[in-house]
Amino acid sequence: MKKFKVLPGFKLTLGCTLFYLGLIVLIPLAATFGKTASLSLAQFWRAVASPDALAAFRLSFGVSFFAALANLVFGLLVAWVLVRYQFWGRRLMDALVDLPFALPTAVAGISLAAVYAENGWVGRWFAPFGIKISYTSLGIFVALTFVGLPFVVRTVQPVLEEFDVEIEEAAATLGANRWKTFWRVILPMVMPALLTGFALAFARALGEYGSVVFISSNIPMKSQIVPLLIMNKLNQFDYAGATALAVVMLVISFLFLFAINYLQWRSSRHRVQP
């Protein structure tokens, strides 16, 4: 496979890339793992398995999961509507889907907190039924759904666009109704992209901090997510505790990254040979 290289700059660009990557990303991350290694096992366990940490993990994973699930369902719906139907305002809607990527999380946080408060524009419609959204875990769900919203839409959209209508025609010819075609033909084809989007939204929700702090009441043991707990430990100069929690989160994030890469590899393979 040895080829004569015509293009210049291989050593220079690769060297610069590795140097900059090491400086900004790898060395600081290694420092975090190094710091954890300096903790005793008992210290580590006390930080990670303390009641408030366990409560935070439960809340973070639970709410992130449901937010990602909501995004899975509505993301597929939005992607479907954007690709398949013509209607007034479609282009605007398409562009607006990216808003959570572009809008700073702090802005989203204060705005969602205001809109979903008991006297807010949306919250007031739920208040008569005794449903409080802002400053409850439902509020955290709203914020996490917001930040994860574009992921499923943007992973599913290209797959639906490339989708060969002839396959659907074949299904119709063979006697399947639309509902059956959707479940048996379209959904399996979209599934890898859908799962990728779900995993991306889940991973993003787990790490989210900015929007949640404004809409959550942040009560320890009750409505404190893991990133907030890390922040609190830092503010109390409990670096060991913060680092231990951070390492657990990092390992989980890396597992997600591998899962996402695997799913993307599968879905791209799927798309090359439909």
Binding site: V6, L7, G9, T13, C16, T17, Y20, L21, I24, V25, I27, P28, L29, A31, T32, G34, K35, F74, L77, W80, L82, Y85, R90, M93, L96, V97, D98, L99, A102, L103, P104, T105, A106, V107, I110, S111, L112, A114, V115, V122, F146, P158, E161, V165, T173, R178, A203, G207, E208, Y209, P227, I230, Y239, A242, T243, A246, M249, S253, F254, L257
Partner: protein, 295 residues
């Protein structure tokens, strides 16, 4: 007919027949999607601007002219002015190395570049505290030499560099890989120098992808909250960026003031998605050549 959807070739939408749904189902699905996006995107966006002017135009401009706000805006612009060019250059350099050459462990390198996306912003801040903070690796040395990184501007820049690290690179790598290296090789064979090849051949090919990455990188750099919050130390007028200043105002019960500053960032977000949509419209270049032909 309407313009084509953002990314791909226009698709003719059938209005009836065996491969679409009955009219009322279509309307129901569109309505559900619109309600969802309305509740989660449109209403909060409008609420930012409504909140900003809740106490009148006077209070709005009073907040924006406040020295603390002005200093926050300046710091945010300064951070973006350092971070965006650095990550932009890195993105091009990394994409050149990865897309134009073969070497082992390339996939691992690409994954490592994406790593910051997987890291929670709070942890992104924390890792720099562990390196440069008083108790960190270089902490004692930095204190001895009277250099402040954490709770100072360099820390904010570093944390922002980290969170915006992959934006340009991940946009350019698949683009340049899809474009291949034949055009550059032809330029070289015809006698162009390395730089000439880059400026005259590569850059025109990737300019839309590059712009796309820069726009997203800039939006994140100006809006980053969690990571910056950890390393800033919240010294008003010195280490408060715009998102941090929003928090200060909000917790000081000046919600109209918080929304006033937020409205600037929300405006930036709108400009960002408008530019993004525009670049996507331009950017058949964002996609592999075979799709360009069908478009």
């Amino acid at each position: 007919m309407q313009a084509p959807s953002t990314f791909h070739a226009p698709r003719r939408v059938r209005r009836c027949g065996p491969t679409t749904e009955p009219l009322f189902v279509r309307w129901l699905l569109i309505a559900a999607a619109l309600v969802f996006l309305g509740l989660f995107l449109v209403v909060p966006l409008i609420a930012v601007f409504a909140g900003a002017f809740a106490k009148g135009v006077g209070h709005y401009f009073h907040t924006l002219a406040d020295p603390m706000t002005v200093s926050a805006i300046k710091l945010t612009l300064l951070t973006a002015a350092i971070v965006v060019p650095l990550n932009c250059v890195f993105g091009v350099v990394a994409a050149w190395a990865i897309a134009k050459f073969d070497f082992p462990f390339k996939n691992i390198l690409t994954t490592l570049i994406d790593l910051p996306f997987a890291v929670s912003p709070v942890i992104a801040g924390l890792i720099y505290v562990l390196v440069f903070g008083a108790q960190g690796w270089f902490g004692p040395w930095l204190i001895a030499h009277n250099i402040r990184i954490i709770f100072a501007v360099p820390g904010i820049v570093l944390a922002t560099l980290f969170v915006t690290f992959p934006f340009v690179a991940r946009e350019l790598i698949p683009l340049m890989q899809a474009q291949g290296r034949t055009e550059e090789e032809a330029a070289r064979v015809l006698g162009a120098s390395g730089w000439q090849t880059f400026w005259r051949v590569t850059l025109p090919n990737i300019k839309w992808g590059l712009l796309y990455g820069v726009i997203l990188c800039n939006a994140r750099a100006m809006g980053e909250f969690g990571a910056v919050s950890v390393v800033s130390g919240h010294i008003q007028g010195v280490t408060d960026t715009m998102p941090l200043h929003i928090e200060v105002l909000y917790q000081g019960y000046d919600s109209a003031g918080a929304f006033a500053v937020a409205s600037l960032l929300a405006f930036l977000a709108l400009v960002t998605i408008a530019l993004k949509a525009w670049v996507e419209g331009k950017g058949a270049a964002l996609h592999p050549p075979e799709e360009k032909i069908s478009a």
